[in-house]
């Protein structure tokens, strides 16, 4: 067995020894350094740009503006509405205006100070609620980016059947991904006349396409390679340095290095969407939920990025992992002149989990039920209809995850007054929503008798390299020494899609499995399993093309109805329950997260250590989301004033893995990357309520907010 074990990650030893070359470490002989001159205004027309002093500054080679872009100046994963370099106007603070290229980093950064821009300020839209009717249009077609509804059953009837109704409003703030490695990369012209970009990224093929549009050259003229990447969490899905680097190489024909400072990363990188959630739940006396009505208002900043995805995913998951017969969700995402929000671990669902799990506890409280029992009673099971009326056929492990924590829940006891216990449940659709999102993988036999795996799946620290190799090993029955992994290079791998949406184990894993089955049949025919060495098979094969086997997997989904969202947007869902113990100090508002029991239905754990690692990381991030992380535009500049948890804030964690196998997944696997985070903040908030009697409706519930709630409750 090569899967289901505790194999060390294949990159672990190298990383411990400090061997890998991260994008931030990259350089090239004779490289220029590129810096970005950024807007200091939230919304303004550019009247004049004076770069003469910067150009005259020592060591400055070139200053590039939007007029130097040969192709399209607009990029975006779904809607192409974001300029690489501002054209006539800026729509947020931090928006790139110019690229300054210097012989050294110092020269380039010094020259930035010498650039003068004259702005004419325009009306600023800083609130999504005012955005709708504002006469200040951020884009010509209006300030509403997206509106999605989920309609199931009869919402009025549902509330009529309810004995109790609970209605609350929840809000969350901007968060930064705060990956360890800031956006970095290097580019150079290669001997074939192409432009090569090596960067810290979650998706090489998407970047290749965008650069080809930017430079108006065919895709094959662009090569994108993923450097060892120091974290992503969604923040390296959009084009960060890649476009600037490619454009700079195009104009100078010299190697170009870019590396954002931490301050620049905070200023310019996409954020988690702040969501404002109005949530109404109806339930019968016996605890059965009859109706859920949710209004979601989001702020995506001036550019779409993943705003439409968050708008839709938040809506589709708004009811949580429960069977609700009558559902009405109205989710709207607005443009503003606030920071650009984009993809961040969970795409809006951690925010919604905070709301739906708070609601479950409040309903239970009203009905004098145990919060555990009400969840158990309403949880999705095989045959259940989701909010989009998708029938869940397989791998519905939510009840099993509840059962894993049940003994700890039942025997919980408060050693101190200030202790509290809370539950959080979640479900999460694996892969992109209602669209084709395939992955490719390619295997070939090498001359030295090994099997090479070519994949475009970006390892960003989550462990996909190890997982994919294990799936290959298991299928072929091969030792690790017989496998060569070639990853993250558009020259050698076909598109595997992004490392996002918890999709690589399931989808790229599926593609590797598909290719491996073909390879196994070939090897079997050639006598490998009867003892014939691979090297010999290679030598004897006249047509070397036959040594290559391609794999493909695209999860079976259906698009959702544009009006009601009816459909099967995901082929499979992950499920989880977290139980958290906190201790709140009433004098100070300090909340300490003591212990977490985390149960996850991952379908099949390809690598137990990896699954646990994801869960530990998700919990750490959830502690930050619940208690301290908050990006305040104009104030949060660096780690000096953006607090994220350290190891000292980390609770003890016990992980339970539930394996309700997914028939379409490789060996039954689904995903765990985002699920690990999603229920954590919710369970902390519920534990705070249990400890103190007050319920936070705004995240983060940092010490000041919690203390104020406690003071208010005292009266």
């Amino acid at each position: 067995m090569y899967i289901g074990n505790e194999m060390n990650r294949i990159d672990a030893l190298d990383k411990v020894l400090g061997r890998p070359v991260y994008a931030e470490d990259l350089s090239a002989k004779g490289a220029l350094f590129g810096c970005i001159f950024r807007s200091t205004r939230p919304h303004a027309f550019i009247r004049r740009i004076d770069t003469r002093a910067a150009m005259a500054s020592p060591g400055i080679v070139k200053v590039l503006s939007c007029h130097d872009i040969p192709g399209e100046n607009l990029f975006g994963i779904i809607k192409k509405d974001q300029p690489y370099l501002a054209q006539d106007r800026v729509r947020c603070i931090g928006e790139p205006v110019l690229i300054v290229l210097g012989e050294t980093e110092e020269a380039a950064r010094k020259a930035l100070q010498l650039i003068e821009v004259e702005y004419e300020d325009a009306e600023v839209v800083s609130d999504p609620f005012l955005s709708e009717d504002s006469t200040a249009l951020i884009h010509d077609k209006g300030n509403l980016l997206s509106r999605r509804k989920v309609i199931k059953g009869d919402i009025e009837k549902g509330f009529k059947e309810a004995d109790v109704i609970v209605e609350h409003t929840y809000s969350t703030s901007w968060l930064d991904h705060a990956f360890m490695e800031t956006e970095s990369g290097v580019g150079y012209p290669d001997s074939k006349g192409r432009i090569v970009v090596i960067s810290s990224t979650q998706n090489i093929h998407y970047k290749q396409k965008e650069i080809s549009r930017l430079l108006a050259v065919p895709e094959e003229k662009i090569k994108v390679v993923q450097a060892t990447t120091g974290g992503g969490f969604g923040g390296k899905l959009d084009v960060t340095v890649e476009g600037f680097i490619a454009l700079s190489v195009h104009h100078t024909r010299r190697p170009v290095v870019m590396r954002f400072t931490r301050e620049e990363s905070f200023l310019s990188n996409t954020k988690r969407h702040p969501l404002y959630i109005e949530y109404k739940t109806g339930a019968r006396k016996d605890g059965i939920i009859t109706a859920v009505k949710v209004g979601i208002t989001g702020d995506t900043g001036p550019f779409a990025s993943y705003g439409e995805t968050v708008c839709l995913r938040a809506a589709l998951h708004a009811t949580g992992p429960y069977e609700v017969p009558n559902v009405h969700v109205d989710s709207r995402m607005f443009y503003t002149n606030n920071p650009v929000s984009g993809a961040m671990r969970g795409f809006g669902i951690p925010q919604l989990a905070f709301a739906h799990e708070s609601q479950m506890d409040e309903v239970a409280l009203m009905l004098k039920m145990d919060p555990f029992d009400i969840r158990m009673m309403n949880a999705l099971k095989k045959g259940s209809l989701t909010a989009t009326s998708q029938v869940l056929q397989n791998s519905v492990g939510i009840i099993e995850t509840l059962r894993k924590v049940e003994p700890y829940w039942r025997k919980r006891s408060k050693k101190e007054d200030r202790a509290g216990f809370g539950l959080g449940c979640m479900y999460y659709g694996i892969g992109n929503t209602g669209v084709s999102n395939p992955a490719n993988a390619c295997l070939n036999i090498t001359g030295d008798g090994k099997i090479a795996l070519h994949t475009g799946a970006c390892e960003i620290g989550q462990g996909s390299d190890t997982t994919l190799v294990q799936i290959l090993q298991e299928t072929l029955g091969l030792k690790i020494e017989d496998i060569v992994l070639v990853r993250g290079d558009t020259d050698t791998s076909k598109d595997a899609g992004s490392s996002s949406a918890s999709r690589q184990t399931y989808i790229s894993g599926g593609a590797v499995f598909d290719a491996a089955l073909k390879m196994r049949q070939y090897l079997d025919e050639k006598g490998f399993y009867k003892g014939r060495p691979i090297r010999e098979i290679y030598a004897s094969e006249a047509d070397k093309k036959l040594l290559e086997h391609n794999g493909f997997f695209d999860p079976p989904t259906t698009p959702v109805d544009p009006e009601t969202s009816k459909g099967s947007p995901y082929a499979t869902y992950a499920f989880a329950t977290h139980m958290t113990e906190v201790e709140v100090e009433p004098e100070t508002g300090c909340c300490t997260v003591k212990r977490v029991y985390a149960a996850h239905d991952v379908g099949r754990a390809i690598n137990l250590k990896n699954v646990r690692g994801q869960i530990y990381g998700g919990i750490a991030m959830g502690v930050g989301f619940a208690l301290m992380e908050e990006f305040v535009p104009g104030k949060s500049e660096s780690f000096d004033n953006y607090y994220m948890p350290t190891s000292m804030d980390m609770p003890d964690v016990e992980v339970f893995v539930v394996e309700d196998r997914e028939p379409t997944g490789p060996f039954g696997a689904k995903g765990v990357g985002e699920p690990a985070l999603i229920p954590q903040a919710a369970s902390i908030v519920n534990a705070i309520k249990d400890a103190t009697g007050v319920r936070p409706f705004e995240l983060p519930c940092h010490i000041e907010r919690l203390k104020m709630l406690l003071e208010k409750a005292k009266g």
Binding site: L627, Y643, M644, T646, D649, E704, K707
Partner: protein
């Protein structure tokens, strides 16, 4: 980016004083956990004198009640010193909580004092230990009480050519001491609020109480009227409650009202009560 600057690393105090006397636009670096950050943010200085290699500035000596701490001793070293654990527990505790392990290994007591942040972790404990600072320059020596040394937030009476040479504190044997800091996370954060205390009790009576509050007022301070109030009084809820209310009153008297006080004042009240109860 760090601006350009020149630096020297003298090995004797005399050399350091000579450099400070002769160099223009000069700053002392003693760990650099504040200075380098400020310089990176644009604070300019042409010359830096590093005092970390000067043995005589890293000594710790004491005879029980009079303890002299070298200004170049790191937070990590102070928190590990047994003598200080016994006689200045609040200082040990503060040195164990400030920053992160990396910062504690670099940052020094002298640097924390000279930076004079309203949120400095070491200042409240040093206040309750009646700290006197010894300062030298080529022109001579002087002594100053810590209360007078800090003249405004981030401002001390140190002149550019002067060097802090000793931090002299009074040990408090027989006192119950502590230090509590509040921040948004468990470690590696600027204190939102801090309280240092040293309490001597006799049965159910307070004999002598020393309190200092940080991060609330422009400079950390001792509410001496409250200390006086507590001396000799019965240790009960009434006294403790009244003392906590007096502390809050004193903070208001010093600074008026501030938006952050909605949070800070109830917390100070709670922490002072906790400290007095023990």
């Amino acid at each position: 980016m760090l601006p350009d600057f020149a630096s020297v690393s003298p090995e004797t105090k005399a050399d350091a004083l000579a450099y400070l006397a002769s160099l223009d636009d000069v700053r002392v670096i003693a760990g650099g956990t504040d200075l380098l950050v400020n310089m990176k943010r644009g604070e300019l200085c042409s010359n830096v004198v590093d005092i970390m290699n000067i043995e005589e500035l890293r000594l710790l000596s004491g005879d029980g009640t009079d303890i002299a701490i070298g200004p170049a001793i790191t937070h990590a070293a102070i928190s590990a010193a047994a003598m200080l654990n016994d006689l200045a527990g609040s200082l040990s505790a503060a040195c164990g909580w400030i920053g992160s392990p990396q910062i504690r290994n670099m940052g020094t007591i002298g640097g924390n004092l000279a930076n004079a942040s309203p949120a400095a972790d070491l200042i409240p404990p040093l206040l309750i230990h009646d700290t006197v600072l010894k300062i030298e320059s080529q022109e001579g020596k002087r002594e100053e009480r810590l209360d007078d040394f800090i003249v405004a937030p981030y401002e001390t009476s140190l002149k550019p050519h002067e060097l802090l040479t000793w931090v002299c504190i009074k040990g408090l044997p027989g006192y119950r001491e502590g230090y509590r800091r509040i921040a948004r996370r468990a470690a590696w954060a600027i204190s939102r609020l801090s309280v240092a205390w040293a309490v001597r009790e006799d049965g159910d009576r307070f004999v002598d109480v020393k309190l200092a509050i940080g991060s609330c007022t422009p400079m950390p301070f001792r509410p001496r009227n409250v200390e006086k109030f507590l001396g000799g009084r019965k240790k009960d809820d009434h006294t403790i409650g009244e003392a906590a209310a007096l502390v809050v009153e004193e903070i208001r008297r010093i600074t008026g009202d501030r938006p952050s006080f909605a949070y800070k004042l109830p917390v100070v009240k709670g922490l002072v009560q906790k400290a007095l109860r023990g």
